[in-house]
């Protein structure tokens, strides 16, 4: 399995996210309002690598795959559910 070096400590400001992902800031605030993402630090509205990747995925689903806004929370819920299941299975596997 591919190991990815995650820069967990790295934080991005809204402006940086806009730059890196090439999305409009209104899209990002919309994603936060709809609770599709919840930034690591809501106070200062800073984003971490996870937020960034999640935003990127949502953006790709909408723009590239053509998913409408109704379906985004459903898809994200299912994806999170799968990750959570993976996680649980891995944990159980280690317990044994």
């Amino acid at each position: 399995m591919k190991a990815y070096l995650m820069k967990k400590e790295k934080r991005y400001t809204l402006r940086e996210v806009v730059e890196v992902l090439e999305v409009q800031s209104t899209v990002i605030t919309q994603c936060i309002q709809k609770e599709w993402i919840s930034p690591v630090d809501p106070e200062s509205s800073e984003f971490d690598q996870e937020d960034l990747a999640r935003l990127q995925l949502i953006n790709e689903l909408r723009e590239k795959v053509g998913v409408n806004d109704e379906a985004i929370p459903i898809i994200m819920h299912l994806i999170d559910q799968i990750h959570c299941l993976h996680q649980e299975i891995r944990k159980k596997g280690q317990d044994i």
């Binding site: 890196v20 971490d48 053509g66 649980e88 044994i96």
Partner: protein, 299 residues
């Protein structure tokens, strides 16, 4: 080398812009890495089609590409700069995954308990067995041998071919197959043996048979003849008056019986061969001899 973006998207140079978008969306749906987590092939494909669409995604970009005015690196490199895919950030248990609620814990628990009853054995999937076919020289099959084989997976196995093995027998290599999941053990490798025929020997159970040509003089007078065996050749005494079809036994030059540890015999079947040319001397001699010694072998 960058592959042609048109063929990557499965469209042609005169496909309308709207259809290019549709083709791209269809492929993106199929190959998005977050919809295929951990599938390297899907990821590669997705990057490829993203790169292609970056070149053809708008009429302006497409025009530029068609005129040969494109700037590389294109999409796939851009995607890399934007960081990992979402599933990659969640692999070690990301924030979003940790805070996910609504997983049916009872169901999971019962699923794991259900596997084998005890928790100890819960998460175990044995890896798959792998099957191979190996051709073995007749000599090696009868006397046994040690061979090294390289599996398609590049794994090298030392194969001990037991003496006396027959075609169709399978050798098992425990735990050399596909890896298991969880704490499950790997599968086994089975190597099926196919024995190549020998031009000289024929196997009949634990015995070997071979045909031995002898001359007329050897048949009449008897002789010591050298015969091949699977080991070194040995001298065989042909009794005087030997006949075609007569069987002489060489003890314990046959096949080893693994259960009794005894070897079978090598049966030498004689075949009298006339001289290629019957000369006058032989003819006269036999004519004279047969006047007083005729016999009927068909009786």
């Amino acid at each position: 080398m960058v592959p042609d973006p048109y063929s990557t998207l499965g469209v042609s140079k005169d496909t309308p812009q709207e259809e290019i978008k549709e083709a791209y969306r269809k492929l993106a749906k199929q190959y998005h890495p977050d919809l295929n987590p951990g599938n390297a092939e899907a990821e590669r494909k997705f990057k490829e089609i993203s790169a292609a669409y970056d070149l053809l995604g708008s009429p302006e970009k497409r025009k530029k590409f068609d005129l040969g005015e494109v700037e590389f690196p294109s999409g796939s490199a851009q995607r890399e700069q934007r960081g990992p895919f979402y599933y990659e950030t969640q692999q070690g248990g990301g924030r979003y995954t940790q805070s996910f609620e609504g997983l049916d814990e009872d169901f999971l628990e019962s699923l794991f308990k259900g596997f084998k009853g005890s928790k100890k054995e819960a998460y175990q999937f044995r890896g798959e067995d792998q099957y191979y076919l190996m051709e073995v020289e007749f000599h090696d099959a009868i006397l046994g041998a040690e061979k090294e084989i390289t599996l398609p997976t590049q794994k090298v196995l030392r194969v001990k071919i037991p003496a006396g093995i027959e075609s169709g027998k399978k050798l098992r290599f425990a735990r050399q197959g596909s890896p298991g999941a969880g704490t499950g053990p790997p599968g086994d490798v089975f190597v099926e043996i196919k024995v190549k025929p020998s031009p000289v020997f024929k196997r009949m159970g634990q015995d070997l048979e071979m045909e031995l040509a002898i001359s007329l003089n050897e048949a009449i007078l008897g002789a010591d003849v050298e015969v091949p065996t699977l080991e070194k050749p040995i001298k065989l005494k042909i009794p005087a008056g030997a006949s075609t079809g007569q069987r002489l036994r060489l003890k314990e030059k046959g096949v080893l019986d693994q259960s009794t540890k005894k070897r079978g015999n090598l049966l030498v079947i004689l075949k009298v061969v006339m001289p290629s040319h019957i000369d006058d001397e032989l003819k006269t001699m036999i004519e004279k001899w047969s006047q007083s010694h005729s016999y009927n072998p068909r009786k």
